[in-house]
Symmetry: C2
Subunit: 224 residues, 2 copies
DNA sequence: ATTTATTTTTAGACAAGACTAAATTTAATT
DNA sequence: AATTAAATTTAGTCTTGTCTAAAAATAAAT
């Protein structure tokens, strides 16, 4: 009923791969069953089942009770899904007037479309973007991504300046907050003051003074 | 694990609805189990099962052994899927350099993406196209489609002219044949001669003379 | 009008992917 | 080191969507 290439990895399998991929970026150790379960909002027993299948398909390395690691093939496969996700996000924002807080759910669907030509052409159509609307890097066709050296706003010292290049938290609430305050990627800002008692900052942006909480400052990336 | 709106109709349910929708256009009687099975390349018993579910969901009317008919809601739902399919086809051809014989499989996947905003914006981005790359009409947001009065090339008389507006067979082989012969939508052609013994035609197109078989002439639509 | 053929439906089985509850293994504590 | 706690796996069940084989209903043909 469905074309063969759709069956290479099922929707579920792709979601597991992507979850493990994202978890590996922050953890550098074997990824635990529970961590995957939490990320996918499913149960540990379901993860345990799926892990066996993915292990048989040789996209992850798995020893009982030891957590999992992506194989090179698994990493490449996962990176390709992330590549698609982020390219679609660029498309939605640049061409279809989506705002950066609206793209996630749709990209979550579009990332599973199977067609090498589609992605190749979409990439060209968008002018080979290097980052998605949240500042996250887009893996290239081989799954490699060049990581921009970026710092959390909270790490800037007084009088230091930086350009907004990404967000750590990309929830709609946070993104809408940033919009409201006029903070968008590419904007330059300068730290005017750092408050010791609550770690809030006073920053200058667009010539205006703005006070931001520590929570904001630890979720916004800048390039010094 | 998946967003709620994805569950309104499953992938399978959507494919059944679409199949029935297409079959109703040609048949105007109740659609038989076997016809659906053939269209979806599945077994009659599977169709029989699914029919019950769709009937409970009130998208089709079903009486045992009597075939099925789409309800208004079912028709609207199916038309919406076809709308998405055809809009994506336009996108692929107009923006991503796909040829008209390459779009089907990808559009078959893209048509299941759930996002009203996505389709609304895509429609606008494409300039509200009325037909897909094969000349098939794109249903509007309410599922209505205005049917262009069109005739098969084979029905033209000697010395009559027409503009290519669509194909009946949209298989890759046929479309590639048309490309090779320089026959594309919008081209004007004139019937120079009709051969009685094999119903082949001699036509004029782009100032050149071309002989086309009856099979071609009964699969190409023109507007007189 | 019977018989035959075709279509459709039912019954029972299976795979994928999820779940609950119970068992097992590893980690943490006393 | 022994016990408790937490994490992981297994066992068994459920749903969706498919299938085969058999039964039932309709249509066709003698």
């Amino acid at each position: 009923m469905y074309p063969k290439f759709l069956r290479m990895f099922s929707l579920s399998e792709e979601n597991y791969l992507k979850a493990i991929y994202h978890l590996e970026i922050i953890s550098n150790k074997g990824i635990s069953t529970n961590a995957i379960a939490e990320k996918l909002e499913t149960k540990a027993s379901s993860v345990s089942d799926m892990i066996k299948k993915l292990s048989e398909k040789e996209v992850i390395i798995y020893k009982k009770y030891q957590g999992v690691t992506l194989t090179d093939f698994g990493k490449k496969t996962a990176a390709n899904i992330v590549r698609k996700h982020r390219l679609w996000e660029v498309f939605l924002v640049e061409k279809l007037n989506f705002s950066w807080d609206e793209v996630h759910d749709v990209a979550e669907q579009l990332e599973h479309i199977k067609s090498p030509k589609l992605i190749h052409e979409l990439d060209a159509f968008l002018g080979f973007p290097s980052h998605d609307p949240h500042g996250d890097p887009i893996p290239d066709n081989d799954g490699n991504l060049k990581v921009l050296e970026k710092s959390l706003l909270a790490t800037l010292s007084k009088n230091e300046s930086g350009v907004c290049v990404g967000v750590k938290d990309s929830s709609a609430e946070f993104l809408q907050y940033l919009d409201k305050k006029g903070i968008t990627l590419g904007k330059e800002l300068t730290v005017l003051e750092k408050e010791d008692f609550d770690d809030s900052l006073s920053i200058q942006i667009d010539g205006k003074k703005l006070s931001v909480s520590n929570k904001i400052a630890t979720n916004l990336y800048v390039k010094k």
